[in-house]
């Protein structure tokens, strides 16, 4: 996790009172971030499927409609293109919508609105229109979800110029990055790793971590750099612990921002360790790891002792719940991959 500095984002934050430190889940942190932004800015609105009285299927919007009214938080008809499309019109009129896609694969009906309009309105109008919209997407697997509930869609979004794509891996970042995303004048795809929703940190909110476009070194090491994000940060940390038992010093980076990519932090680490591997749940072919490997290699080729590896899900449709454990990358699989390198220099 990025080091919390215990200050609130922005200066117009007098509405937010510091809480005493307590165990806080990622869902509670996200919920509080939404609450604090609704209070700080009357132009922030939240809508999507089931975000009202139910509080979202993951309870991220719990009680927000009761507290802020159905002009600020409301249930939309069940239609993802409609949710993104109407949010775009609201942004044209000065609002800052935060919308929910409920599950990764449910965002696909909205693909055209996101890539053809949300991402492009600033550019096509020479900067005259801003799209300060946050698209919250509960993402990835590991919770035993049925078909269409566990996909990883990041490669589609990062391939689209105009979008910022970020994903927190812990409650402190979830709070801080979501508030920053809502304040961004660019559209942000905010990917929330479902398998980390119930992870806890002891936190005082509000908390401000590193800027959301920066990667963070979550564990220092000298032999290899593991590049992880969202759900795989936990996997990388487990691999580091296992590796330590084998005498391997592992540096773990949480990328946090998938687009833009923090070349500076990553290259500094890779030049130190001379080896890098990227871990993600999504299929390997044409995936985000391919971009990371190419980018790291292009910038650091003469500092590398071995090719950049990818430890990913298989190139298959996301499997059914009873088989997902065989698909998702594990710490053991990470270490086995590292063993394929020639370690003697």
């Amino acid at each position: 996790m990025s080091a919390p500095t215990h200050t609130a984002p922005g200066e117009a934050d007098s509405t937010v009172e510091q809480t005493a430190p307590k165990p806080t889940t990622m869902t509670a942190a996200l919920n509080q971030a939404l609450r604090d932004e609704l209070a700080a800015d009357p132009d922030v609105v939240i809508f999507g499927e089931d975000v009202g009285p139910l509080g979202g299927v993951f309870r991220i919007t719990d009680r927000l409609q009761a507290e802020f009214g159905d002009d600020r938080v409301w249930d939309s008809p069940l239609a993802e293109a409609g949710i993104i499309g109407t949010a775009i019109g609201m942004a044209m009129y000065g609002m800052r919508p935060v919308v929910e896609m409920q599950f990764d694969a449910f965002s696909f009906p909205a693909f055209e609105q996101i890539v053809s309009h949300l991402a492009k309105e600033r550019n096509r109008t020479k900067g005259r229109l801003s799209m300060p919209i946050v698209v919250r997407i509960p993402c990835a697997g590991g919770i035993g979800g049925v078909e269409h509930h566990s996909d990883s869609s990041e490669a589609y979004w990062i391939h689209t110029p105009g979008l910022t794509v970020v994903t927190p891996s812990n409650p402190a970042d979830a709070y801080s990055m979501l508030r920053e995303a809502i304040r961004s004048d660019d559209p942000v795809i905010f990917m929330e790793p479902k398998s980390r929703y119930w992870s806890k940190d002891t936190l005082s909110l509000p908390v401000q971590t590193a800027p959301m476009t920066k990667a963070s070194v979550v564990q220092e090491g000298s032999d290899v750099t593991l590049l992880s994000y969202g759900p795989t940060v936990k996997t990388a940390l487990e691999a580091a612990r296992l590796g330590e038992g084998e005498g391997l010093s592992v540096e773990v980076i949480d990328l946090r921002s998938l687009s833009p990519f923090d070349d500076e932090t990553v290259s500094a680490s890779v030049r130190k360790t001379s080896r890098a591997a990227v871990i993600h749940e999504a299929a390997q072919f044409g995936g985000y790891g391919a971009e990371v490997a190419a980018r790291v290699t292009e910038r650091n080729f003469f500092h590398l002792s071995a090719p950049v590896l990818r430890i990913t899900g298989f190139d298959i449709p996301f499997p059914s719940p009873k088989l997902e454990e065989f698909h998702l990358p594990t710490a053991e699989r990470v270490l086995a991959a590292l063993d394929t390198w020639e370690w003697e220099v």
Partner: protein, 371 residues
């Protein structure tokens, strides 16, 4: 204020016979045929006529320049002047318009300069005008996507306590798209102040209406969503203006969306790359030319002594002056800075994009050194 308003009236069922106020022969329709709509005031009719004449000159001039290679492409709206201008004239300047690529003459009626309208078709930039200054969204190319933006904007205006109305144009083909369905449904559920003006010009590029829908008529689509639907003679500017004005008034006073089907015809090809002789007969084109929206209003105005020879020469002069402006603007060589490629992608400049910008800058200065 709430996005949720209870239904307070039964939807109006559309009539199959299109509403007409001035018929093909230039005569005012009297009696029951007018569906309770009244002929607009003479000043409005004259203004509709003047704007249609000027718009047609715009269209013919731009088509000519496209044939000369001055524009990359141009989707003509010739024949659809009544739908376009009758609709836009019913809006206040504070209302918003959500156009498609074919609605250039609607943009002209919004007061946007020809050079700004044509910037996209010339290939200089994707959208040339300031949407906020003209309360006009960038023209949408994917079909029906902009209808959702109109619903969002209208809803936002209502939540902020403004009585702004949004009007979006759709074609007959666009009604088959999923986004049209979602827009109609969201607008009705949220009772958004939106007018869906469906310009049924009979063809989606080459596909005729009967292969587009099995519905009796496009206006019928309104019923299933719980909003009023109207079918209007889209070549009758007076009727279009009257029906859209009523829908705008309805939306402004908080009674939600309306769907209007304007029956019209695209006289020219889909764009300059299209060959309409492959999919429609010349007889059809001639039949629709006989129902020309400008000629019929002109006949009416002349018959009522509302249009003098002086008026006509003044309008012709205005149209010619506009055509000259268009020629000047399109014939002028505009220098586009290649480095502007990197502008306006993000609010905050990104280091990786700045690197790519520098790469192009170096490449450009190297090629300058060579020449």
């Amino acid at each position: 204020m709430s996005v949720h308003i209870e239904r307070n009236e039964a939807p109006v069922l559309p009539q199959a016979t299109p509403l007409t106020l001035i018929n093909d022969t230039g005569h005012a329709v009297a009696g029951d045929g007018t569906g309770g709509f009244e002929l607009p005031e003479p000043e409005i009719l004259k203004s509709l006529y003047r704007r249609m004449v000027v718009a047609r000159r715009f269209d013919t001039q731009v088509t000519a320049l496209t044939r000369q290679g001055r524009l990359a492409t141009y989707p003509s709206a010739l024949g659809q002047e009544a739908c376009e201008i009758g609709s836009v004239m019913a809006l206040r300047t504070s209302d918003w318009l959500f156009p498609t690529y074919r609605d250039t003459i609607a943009l002209l009626t919004r007061g946007i300069s020809p050079a700004d309208i044509l910037e996209a078709f010339r290939g200089d930039w994707h959208s040339g005008y300031d949407p906020k200054a003209h309360r006009t969204a960038p023209a949408a190319t994917p079909l029906a996507t902009q209808a959702l933006h109109a619903v969002g904007l209208g809803t936002a205006a209502r939540l902020k306590g403004d009585n702004t109305v949004a009007l979006t144009f759709l074609g007959d083909g666009a009604t088959s798209e999923g986004d049209a369905h979602e827009a109609f449904n969201f607008a009705a559920v949220w009772q958004a102040p939106v007018i869906f003006m469906v310009q049924n010009n009979q063809f989606a590029i080459s596909v005729p209406l009967k292969k587009q829908t099995h519905a009796r008529m496009l206006a019928d689509k309104a019923v299933g969503y719980g909003m009023p639907g109207y079918r209007v003679d889209g070549n009758d500017a007076a009727a279009v203006y009257a029906v859209v004005s009523a829908a705008v008034e309805r939306a402004r006073s908080g009674h939600g969306p309306t769907l209007i089907e304007g029956l019209t015809y695209r006289i020219e090809a889909h764009t300059n790359s299209d060959d309409p002789s492959r999919y429609r007969s010349n007889d059809d084109v001639l039949a629709w030319k006989a129902r020309d929206p400008i000629e019929r209003l002109e006949k009416y105005l002349v018959s009522q002594n509302l249009l003098s020879e002086d008026d006509r020469s003044a309008i012709a002069a205005e149209a010619e002056s506009l055509a000259g402006d268009i020629r000047d603007a399109m014939n002028a060589e505009v220098e586009i800075d290649p480095l502007s490629l990197f502008d306006h992608v993000y609010a905050e400049p990104r280091p990786a994009l700045l690197e790519q910008r520098q790469f192009l800058a170096d490449e450009l200065s190297a090629s300058e050194d060579k020449s």
